[in-house]
Symmetry: C2
Subunit: 477 residues, 2 copies
Amino acid sequence: MASDRLPSRSENFSEWYNQLVLRAELADYSPVRGCMVVRPYGWTLWENIQAALDRRFKETGHMNAAFPLFIPKSFLEREKEHVEGFSPELAVVTIGGGEELDEPLVIRPTSETIIGHMYAKWIKSYRDLPVLINLWNSVVRWEMRTKLFLRTTEFFWQEGHTAHATREEAEAETLQMLDVYADFAENEAAVPVIKGRKSQSEKFAGAQHSYSIEAMMGDTRALQAGTSHNLGENFARAFDIRYLDKSNKLQYCWTTSWGLSTRFIGAIIMVHGDEKGLVMPPRLAPFQIVIVPIFRNEEERTAVMETVERIKSQLKDHRVKLDDREGVTPGFKFNDWELRGVPIRVEVGPKDVAKGTVAIARRDQPGRKGKQIVQQEGLSKAIDDLLDEIHHSLFDRAKDFMVANTHQPKDYAAFKEVVANGWADVWWCGDAACEAQVKEETKATIRNIPLDQPGGEGVCIHCGKPATERVIFSRAY
Amino acid sequence: MASDRLPSRSENFSEWYNQLVLRAELADYSPVRGCMVVRPYGWTLWENIQAALDRRFKETGHMNAAFPLFIPKSFLEREKEHVEGFSPELAVVTIGGGEELDEPLVIRPTSETIIGHMYAKWIKSYRDLPVLINLWNSVVRWEMRTKLFLRTTEFFWQEGHTAHATREEAEAETLQMLDVYADFAENEAAVPVIKGRKSQSEKFAGAQHSYSIEAMMGDTRALQAGTSHNLGENFARAFDIRYLDKSNKLQYCWTTSWGLSTRFIGAIIMVHGDEKGLVMPPRLAPFQIVIVPIFRNEEERTAVMETVERIKSQLKDHRVKLDDREGVTPGFKFNDWELRGVPIRVEVGPKDVAKGTVAIARRDQPGRKGKQIVQQEGLSKAIDDLLDEIHHSLFDRAKDFMVANTHQPKDYAAFKEVVANGWADVWWCGDAACEAQVKEETKATIRNIPLDQPGGEGVCIHCGKPATERVIFSRAY
């Protein structure tokens, strides 16, 4: 596999991505149109993402639960915007146990409705609030044009669903989870993001307002990498989620939902990957280190493998892969693990055995620059430091790229040029019609309205009317 | 909730179970017939089960992956026994994205077929073997009579799927995973089990032969708590999973599959639970310890809570719940956590503050017997030891119960009495017709043919013909 040339990232980013996902064995196409198989290497990455997020969810008081895959079709119809948003994308079960069903069941595209139904049953009093639940599952949204990880009919994600006594608490939760996502993206995946509010036309179907984190991919397009929705009283009213407050009055709850999906794997690939293949961020990498033993004969083999085993046990707190495949050359192994993006390669040869050293190669700095000779003694600490350095180096590189490709065009002509190959950070009047026209004319959409605003006032990049908010316009995945 | 009386376990085991699952907030009925909602307390138990199993799967070289929820209907039809076994239970998607599908999609009842399709694509050479993959997901089998955790249309499980070069390796894997299940059941859940082979009529649809672990519930009925299947070459032939061996000849692979589901939660409830409610096995308990502060006034409150916080941080390596609810009495809290089965209750009152002690109550020994006063100093170690002791005590109690209710009836008349309220350990001739007649006459089925056989020969309990194997007959969930 690794011997075939990967398509060029700089010349054909899209095909580079498609081939890389397959060749690195992250995922594969399934016999069911639009669905993917996530292979062990890709799923281990997802497990590491899950662990990093789940820890943060639990630290902020959430517990996991599981809700049914099936949702009665009538449930979806209770929230008007919600059903309009999701109807065209539904997979519908009409036969169960050999018989036609009285009411068709929808495979969940998201679980707000069935959650709403159950919360209405569970929540009686202010003492029952807040309810802070998260689900790890898969959802189905029928897709016509699919791309592995980025857009598939079934995808894997988490969906958090909370209920609160007041509008303020719900908004605080919504923003807290946005912060959790941003913290995860930057400090685990080394992916810099912009936190912001979605415009009304881009918000979640049924939300009062939505927030997102947006990341810039290696081709400068944006990817929405996580969303957090303040649902207001919309679902509480649709499903009658009410509680008795302290003065014994019935009140509607305020609910939120927030999600991050296997799309994020697409972001990791497209932010960090290079011409040679994947570059895994060290804190999430399925394998942080690959050890490649090098020897020419049986005698060398014995000595090298003895050292390798000792090094492996020294590194037992890291995620280590020992590549002891026979019948393939070290060079083949180097290419293979470069393609698969393992952050650090440790080579052990006869000279290393003699000198008490190992040769280390950094994936983020291919070639001589990233190579060094390190003492076997204290290797674990040296590796720790290096993993940390790689994390920061990847983050800085991605951040520099994002900053370098984010522009403040002065007029609409310049704007059009900017969004052809980058992000535009511009004033917007707030008018959905204006937003729609920009989209039609340039394919760029408002990614979000950053929380971090400069203040002051300007004129809308499209219509020239007064504007009080700056937004990020970009083409997006 | 906790104030209503739980139905009597000894008088109405079934209703005791149903009510307990709801009241302990393990699970709830969903608006979709036959499906369940697993609530946070129940799901945390499942997460702990997952962690204990997943560690064992990874230690034995398996990695997790994810396969699509949807399976083309034609796939199921490729293995004759498989489609016959599963056809009556299928949920079928006929509409996707608003349009009727050309080929209906089945929601996976199990994934052998789609796995087979992909393995055929991935496996080329003996170098690619073995393939050792596990999936954590949910599957759907349409059920008419459902019972929470024990039998639901959608249930949660893991399904392992492996491919091997030889018959021997596949059989070794099948038995290894049976051992993993038994080890998990006994050493994590404190549930004693019998490992054995299923009879041909009870094996998995499409397997060459199946193994199971069987546990005795508190009403003496059996529950199949995990299964491991040697699929022979059946699926390899149906899906053309072949590899080039070392001499460059195409060979069929030998595959296995093995699964353990949320049914196991039913086993935990029914093996350990008592008249007061759940009794969680310490190594899997969502909360191992609940701390209940006791005070009568604000001054006492301050002193008690200070001690409580110190104790809580002492116990930070345990799963601790601090019940600091206001407006409910300590007695209410005691009942509540007894119902929910927390292994150890730690009470802290003003006297404990003064004396540097805490009062400890064991859930497995309600009343005075399980109470003791323990020094705050060294509490973490004392709790560790006690959790261990509780684990062994629960296991021993369950084992004694299983042994006491397993009989060796001398003739078929005695057999009938035995299986009305216990297990029968008897000789069986191996004839499926004989097995079917016993089932029809007594409702008892062969749970399994224990791996641990006495040897020798006897006569079949039903037909009196010569028999070389002893089997466990019992009514089952």
